[in-house]
Amino acid sequence: MSSHQRISRKSFLNWFLGTSLGATILATLYPIFRYVLPPEVAEAPTNRVLAGKLSELPPNTGKVFRFGAKPGILVRTPSGEVRAFSGICTHLNCTVQYRPDFQHIWCACHNGHYDLQGKNIQGPPPRPLEAYRVDIVGDEIYVTRGA
């Protein structure tokens, strides 16, 4: 084998090794880079969420917020107390809402009514809404599930 051929083979091997190692490093770094970047869809915390701001929730109003893929409902009672419940009607899983005229929680699908404790008081819902814990930090309302 001539020295020209050996050099050519050696340089090819070096190029091959360098390129493939470089590509391996890239293939390792890319997922790490993607992992570090924030995702387009906000990932849901498991059991605690910032549900809203106190200043945006006057007495006798409510607000539906998201708890991962499920809705929750934040209620500010006419007396100003903040409460949070699961937003899923216990009848057929529709999303409930706060009705200022009724001063309680209501489901539009089959006219289910829940009081300000989340208890089913009228219509077909068979069970109360699950209650969540509310923590107010400054103006921010945090809701914790399963607490």
Binding site: L26, C109, N120
Partner: protein, 423 residues
């Protein structure tokens, strides 16, 4: 003289409905102390011993009301002749036609009942007298149900006690004792299949499987003490007490007046009365097995409206199922699909509202709801497609990475071989 007799008759009537004499009733909350149960529990004859054994659990006995409260006599006497002396009001076994009045002696007396429960109703006798049972009893029919038929005669438990025959989940078996007896019911012109039908209903399922005690059982539609079948005009009111939105939608429909004109019961016409099974979208139409065909026939405006409504619902349901499968598949493969799942719930809600609007029989209203659902489904589908594309990209990336690593290993091997040759 006549006036005097009338006054005497009125006084007797008042006495008949008066609360039992004080000596037969102890202090509320304290079990009754009487000689009746002490003697009767030692008797050999089962029919005389059993009531005494049941007394310990009986709600009346536990509240201080002795046997004499219903049967009369002297509960403190140790000698049978004195205890069961007719001159002391002893009546022995109470005949069925007298049972409602005996119970009502206390249960219609508001001030007496206040001692035990300030919220207990006291109009049971008045209601009973308007019921089919009460009307039958007034005509002398002794086979009809009286208070004891449902609540029991001895060992009566509060209705809130799960062992009570009038506890919500047990009412159907209590009514079934008579109403499932086809030969007995035939004598009253009642088919006798009502219990069997009800046990196939969505209401019975909710009550017994989901343990939802608010689900309707016999007395919720027929009344408890005033039990009577709801008339044609009141069926929608009865169902509408729970299914208010459907009733409101129905009231907007041309069916309301049409059914009234034909003297047809509203809800029952499509949903049946006792055998209320979960409604299906496929029911809508005039083909065999579809409910609209009872009044409408192919080609008429009603049939065309039904066709449009069914098509809108089925199309949305099919798409919803397809999108849900795509979203759930992506989620199972590790993608975060919360946004798409929320949209699926929104679509589900729009579909529920569309099904409510079926009762308006207005295709435009139903289609407006299904279009809303379809729009949300399109967004969820786009999310699913994006997730699938991302997954495909990741799979391609994995394959390329593996190939690159393989090549690197080969290159490394060749390099090592060459270095070994040089050395």
């Amino acid at each position: 003289m006549t006036r005097l007799l009338s006054l005497a008759a009125l006084a007797c009537a008042a006495l008949a409905l008066a609360a039992p004499p004080p000596r037969t009733v102890g202090a509320p909350g304290k079990p009754a102390q009487d000689q009746c149960t002490l003697c009767h529990r030692e008797l050999e004859e089962a029919r005389l011993r059993q009531p005494a054994l049941l007394a310990a659990e009986d709600v009346h006995h536990r509240q201080g009301i002795t046997c004499a409260g219903c049967h009369g006599g002297d509960p403190a006497a140790t000698e049978p002749e004195v205890a069961m002396d007719p001159s002391k009001g002893f009546v022995g076994k109470i005949p069925p036609q007298k049972v409602p009045e005996v119970c009502a002696a206390c249960h219609s007396d508001t001030s007496f009942m206040l001692r035990y429960d300030p919220n207990i109703p006291t109009d049971q006798l008045a209601q009973y007298r308007t019921s089919k049972h009460g009307l039958g009893l007034a005509k002398g029919d002794q086979r009809v149900a009286t208070c004891a038929s449902c609540h029991g005669a001895h060992g009566i438990l509060p209705a809130s006690d799960a062992r009570s025959p009038v506890y919500p989940s047990r009412i159907v078996e209590t009514c079934a004792r008579c109403h499932a007896d086809r030969s007995l019911m035939a004598q009253y012109g009642i088919p006798g299949n009502e219990i069997e039908d009800y046990q196939q209903s969505v209401h019975y399922q909710a009550l017994t499987v989901k343990n939802d005690l608010s689900a309707p059982t016999c007395n919720d539609c027929h009344g408890a003490h005033g039990a009577t079948p709801p008339g044609v005009s009141s069926v929608s009111n009865v169902c509408g007490t729970c299914h208010l939105t459907q009733r409101e939608a129905f009231d907007l429909s041309p069916h309301k007046d049409a059914f009234a004109t034909m003297e047809q019961p509203a809800c029952e016409a499509c949903h049946s009365n006792h055998k209320v099974v979960p409604p299906q979208d496929q029911w809508i139409g005039v083909e065999e097995g579809q409910v609209c065909g009872t009044c409408h026939s192919a080609g008429d405006p009603g049939a065309e409206a039904a066709e449009k409504i069914r098509h809108a619902l089925l199309e949305t349901v099919q798409r919803s199922e397809a999108v849900r499968q795509r979203v759930e598949r992506a989620e199972q493969r590790g993608m975060l699909m919360d946004e798409a799942l929320v949209k699926l719930e929104e679509a589900h809600q729009a579909l529920v509202l569309a099904r409510n609007d079926v009762h308006t029989v207005d295709p435009a209203r139903v289609q407006a709801r299904t279009e809303e659902a379809q729009m949300v489904l399109a967004k969820a589908e786009a999310d699913a497609a994006a997730a699938e594309e991302e997954l495909a990209f990741r799979h391609r990336g994995l394959k390329v990475s593996l190939l690159v690593i393989l090549l690197a290993v080969v290159a490394l091997g060749l390099k090592i071989r060459e270095l070994e040759k040089q050395s």
